[in-house]
Every structure is written in structure tokens, then in C-alpha cells.
Symmetry: C2
Subunit: 356 residues, 2 copies
DNA sequence: TTGAAAGCGCTAACAC
DNA sequence: GTGTTAGCGCTTTCAA
């Protein structure tokens, strides 16, 4: 083996050439030859530097720097059975909605996974057959763990991944199974809606309506409960002030018209910015001025909320912190340490703009 | 070697167990043992099925299906020196802008790279030291090729990647080097702006202003040229009708006020939706009704344009087709076939909404 | 058309 | 503290 190493070193120009010669990628053997140590010592220098004598370590580190060496990831993966890749199912933002939530989340995810030595691998999760996408990744040992974001409409994949013994962290609570033990991070939607409702109540509004989603959406129900709770606390009537529907713009528009015809609310708290934009459209159609005639608060602090005129007040999710929490849990999972606090519920904030 | 294979097959429960036993991932050897052929034959069945006799192929395929076998990607990478991964530098959408362009683009990218057997790997490209991010990926042979999207502010990374001998396809033209030979896909911004301008002219507008970016942004200059050309073609005066600035909402707002004070345009063509949203804000402040008093057209067809009230007319980029073009070129690059048409310029469309 | 041998670059286990 | 051995699962010769 010694012979082979020496031979390789001779074969590789970079060993005698200048730093960063891109013609031939240096390997452990190249570095070892240059530093005058064995390959294993170089490996240790990288993965277990504490094992080496200071002097040896120095030599090796210099050789690594000189050659611009980076370990071959495929070889490492093959040996360690770990790819240092995190799988993220990627779904397109729906057209006609205000959400581009994922952008902020994904970026922090990418940054902080890199800090723990991992990369993010995107894969398309078929809506119909989500399991297949995950299964493929698992079978070919393409990723070490997953980040699951689709806990919106009940999440069969969580159950599947757990059964399959795969590592994952969810962005979103296990609504269907409150006793689930997998790690997750989520935002306190009820607190967000409560924040918005209290804000309007503080500004003197007494007839505050809720524009929510259909009952089968636990996230919507959660947010709604924050509105309901706050209204009760303030002794405000909620009769016929709660609308429900799919979360589309058009729903928001129609529901607003209906509410205005019925109970004439002066404040509107919406389950999403998309719904809120629909509400603004209805007000626009009636010649009512948002913020003056009627206050509106959205949910998500989307880019649309930020650039709309008038600017839409909105509940902002701490997506960066969520990503941080997710990665923290991932790291524990990946290093086989217990996750002491599997669930993390973060508090949203309220961004006040022109509409309230 | 035969002995080893047989031994392994014995060790692996799945060989004698039921399909999809997740406890031990099947390998080539497992499949070979079950199909009663050698490992190489299985490998050939996967990579070169034409070489096999029909009967053998059938046997192997059945064994693969039974075991739910997927090749180990790390082992394959190590051997072939290819990871079947495409690197995509990922930058966050800027807050306060209407753009979430990338979402549509990235999704099609993920889908169509999967179709050619590749995955998309996200990595953070430091704004300051972009090269380092790429270099790391290259050194550790983490990806086979890149998709470069940051051709906005002059693209040093294109020059670097080319020098480095890396494979890549750019979303965006090589503005600085029109004679560059690398593959790229882009949208005809001039045509988009021309579309918008002609649309307004057709509706009777004669004083049509341009709200653009600073001169150093080639994309902005390109789009501007479409406005200019159309104005000339229609014999319309452009004097003092062209504004320039950073592309912020606030710039759009101020520039609109300034234009209204000066030349009182009846139509506004904007370099981006963000600028257009700023223009709408200015109109709002003046009590002018967009679409009735003044027509506004944005650029990008962002979610904000779609959900705003009134709905913002906007030039829509064919992001799905762009991603398709990018992947098509990537595939040729990766299979070492020549890219016959390195540059592909696609035509945008105009989405007319309430503001025009 | 199928099979045997070799080895990609790395690290775990063990020797020294 | 450092070196040696073995082998992860795959594909690329080359031989039969």
C-alpha cells in the first residue's frame, strides 16, 4: 500500500505542482505523500484532529492547504453510509396566492445546514404519491434525513417516514397525533391571530370578523381559536362574524362582501394574506378605504403584503428561527443524540402597516 | 468473488424475505443472487439493458422489482466520478420586493432534472465570495454541473466557472461578453417592454413613461430599449419620460410623483413589479385610480401583481420554459454532446389585469 | 451474451 | 500517535 501511495503521488502533478492545480483532484494519498505521513493520518487530521501530534497535524494541514484538497464526498459516503445531504420535498408556490413563505425558510435552512456540514437536496414530491418520492431517496441512500414541510393537509408522510425508520424533522405540528414523538417546529398560529385581534380591539374596534379556512384545516382552526379567545376575553360578540372557505383570493373577496352586508364589521382578521388581499379587493369594489373605514390584518407577511398599497398589516412567522430550530433538531438526530425537546412552538409577531 | 457474492446474499434477509424489507438495503449482489446471475449482469441490466438476452433481462428486472432495489448512489458516484447532482446557488428573495420568480423556475428545474436522472443541490453562494462556494462544490466533487442564475449584476462567476472548466448553464445572457460560448437561456426583456408599451399605445395612450433601473443594469437597459423602440415606431415623444433608479418600491413611488409633476404621463411601463407597486402607491397617495386615470404595467408577473387590488398588468416570463431549456442544455453538456444552439432567447407574454 | 478481476477514495478496526 | 488492512457498492475493462 505504501508503494501504491508513492506511485500515485508521482502520477499526480499537483503533488509537485502548484496549489490548486485543477487538472487532477488531489486525494488522501496525494496529501499523505506530500506531508510524509500515511493516508490514515491525513484522514484523522480531518475527522479527528485531536488524535494527532501537533507537529504532524501542522504538516498535514499545510499539505492540505497547498494542494487545495477536499475529501471526495462519494468515497466518504460509501464508507460511512452517510451522504451529508438533507432532502427537502419541493412544491411550487400556487399561482394566485400571496405566499412565498418558503423562500425565507429555505435560505436559512441552506445556510445553517451548511454550518453543520450538510447540503440541501431538492426533490419533487408528487402530490398523489408522496411516499414514492421519499422511498426513492431512501432506497438509493441519497439523503440522511428529511425536512418535511407538508403537514398542512394532514401528513401521511410523517407516519410513513416514522414507520420506515427514516430521520426527519417536521415544520408543522402533528395535528392528527398530538402524542407523536418525532421532532417538529411550528408557529403558534393562535397567538398570531390573537395578536392581530387584540391589536384591532386596542384601536377601538368592537366588531371584528374572522375570515378563515374550512374546518378540516387544523392550522386554520388553530388561528381561528386565537381570534375567538381574544374576542371572548374582551367581551366582544362573535355572532355571525366568522367566515370559512377555501383560502383563495376570491373566497376572501366574497366573504368580505357577505360580512359587510350582514354584520358590518369594522375589523377583519384573516387566516392568510391571500384571503386578506381578497378582502382588500372587496373593500376596493365598495369604495371603502382599508385602514380608515375598515381595518384588515393578514397572516404570513408575504411580499404582497409588504408591497401592496396600502401596505397590509400582517402576522409574521419567524421563518428564520424555525429553520434554525429544524436544523438544530436535525443535527441531534444525525449525531444520534436524543432530542430533549422534540416540539418547538415559536411566537409570531405583528407587522403593522397601513390597513390597521 | 463468487464466494463473496453468495455469502452476502445469505447475509441479506431481503434476498429470502419479502419485497421492500427496509431492514437491509439490497445491493447488486442481492439482486444477482436472487436472479441467479452475476453482479455485472445486473449492472448491465440497469445501465445497458440492450446487452442482455431478453430472458435474462426479465429475470433481473423481476428480482429488482421484488427486492425494491435502487443502486447506491455513493458507490456509483465513486466509480463513475459523477454525482448526478446539479448545483444551484440559492439566494434569498429580498424583502420588500415583489419578486418570487425563482419559485416557478426552481420547481420546473427540479422536475425536469429528475426526468434526466439528476437531483438539484442547493448551496449558499456568498455574495462577497461567490467563487468560494462554487470551488468547494467542485473540489469535493459534489455536483456535476451548475445552474447559474446570478447574471444580474455582471457575472464574475461565469468567467470563473469557464476558466475552471466546470459545466454550467446560465439563466441570463452574457451581457458583458456577447461572444461567450457557454450555454444560456434568457427572456427577451426588450420584447416584453415593447409588448407592454404597444398595449398601452393601442389603448390610446400617447404619453407613456418608463420607470427603469440604473444604467449599469443591462437587463434594465434591455427592457428599456423595448419601450424606446415602440415609442419611436409609434411616433410618440419620449422626452423626459424615462426615469431611472434602484429598483425599490420607494424609488418607484418617488419617480412616479416626479413624472406626474413634470410630464403627466397617462401610461407607466415599469422595469419590475416592485417598481410598479411603488408607482401604484404614488397614485394611491394622489387619489388617482390606476387603470382609469393612469395605466400601469409591471414586469415579472409576481404573486403580488396577481393578488393586488386592482390587479397589476404585468409582463410574464416563461419560467417553466426557461427551466426546460436550461435542463435540455445541461443534459447535452453532461452527456458530452455539443450544444448546437448555446443561447436560447424566449418570448415573454403580457398578462392584462385591472391597471391597464 | 455473460462472468471475473480490479479499483474508484475513503474510514473503521486494529496493530504497532 | 501513527500505520496497515480490509472493504463500502458500483462500473469498467477484459476474458470466456
Amino acid at each position: 500500500m505504501e508503494e501504491r501511495d508513492a506511485e500515485m503521488a508521482r502520477r499526480v502533478p499537483a503533488a509537485g505542482g502548484h496549489a490548486g492545480d485543477p487538472s487532477v483532484a488531489p486525494t488522501l494519498a496525494t496529501v499523505a505523500a506530500r506531508a510524509g505521513v500515511s493516508r490514515q493520518t491525513v484522514s484523522n487530521a480531518i475527522n479527528n484532529p485531536a488524535l494527532l501530534a501537533e507537529e504532524t497535524l501542522g504538516k498535514v494541514e499545510r499539505a492540505i492547504a497547498d494542494l487545495g484538497y477536499s475529501p471526495n464526498l462519494a468515497a466518504r459516503s460509501l464508507r460511512t453510509r452517510a451522504t451529508r445531504l438533507i432532502g427537502l420535498p419541493f412544491e411550487p408556490a400556487q399561482e394566485g396566492t400571496a405566499n412565498a413563505l418558503m423562500d425565507r425558510f429555505v435560505h436559512t435552512l441552506v445556510e445553517s445546514t451548511r454550518e453543520i456540514g450538510y447540503h440541501v437536496l431538492l426533490f419533487a414530491a408528487d402530490a398523489e404519491d408522496a411516499e414514492q418520492g421519499y422511498e426513492r431517496m431512501l432506497r438509493s441512500t441519497a439523503v440522511d434525513a428529511f425536512v418535511v414541510t407538508e403537514t398542512y393537509r394532514g401528513s401521511p408522510q410523517v407516519e410513513y417516514l416514522q414507520r420506515r425508520g427514516a430521520l426527519f424533522v417536521a415544520f408543522g405540528r402533528p395535528w392528527d397525533a398530538p402524542d407523536a414523538t418525532h421532532p417538529w417546529v411550528d408557529v403558534d398560529g393562535a397567538a398570531g391571530a390573537a395578536l392581530a385581534t387584540a391589536h384591532l380591539a386596542d384601536r377601538g374596534h368592537e366588531v371584528i370578523a374572522w375570515l378563515g379556512w374550512t374546518t378540516d384545516q387544523p392550522i386554520g382552526e388553530d388561528r381561528r381559536s386565537g381570534w375567538m379567545r381574544t374576542m371572548r376575553e374582551r367581551g366582544l360578540d362573535t355572532t355571525r362574524l366568522s367566515a370559512r372557505g377555501d383560502g383563495t383570493l376570491e373566497y376572501g373577496r366574497r366573504a368580505t362582501h357577505a360580512l359587510l352586508d350582514a354584520r358590518k364589521p369594522t375589523g377583519l382578521v384573516c387566516a392568510s394574506d391571500t384571503v386578506a388581499m381578497g378582502a382588500l379587493r372587496a373593500l376596493h369594489e365598495r369604495g371603502l378605504a382599508p385602514g380608515r373605514d375598515i381595518a384588515v390584518v393578514g397572516f404570513d407577511d408575504s411580499l404582497a403584503a409588504q408591497v401592496a398599497s396600502p401596505g397590509l398589516s400582517s402576522v409574521r412567522q419567524p421563518l428564520e428561527d424555525i429553520a434554525l430550530g429544524v436544523v438544530e433538531r436535525l443535527e441531534r438526530l444525525l449525531t444520534h443524540r436524543p432530542v430533549d425537546e422534540p416540539g418547538l412552538l415559536l411566537q409570531p409577531t405583528l407587522v403593522v402597516r397601513d390597513t390597521s
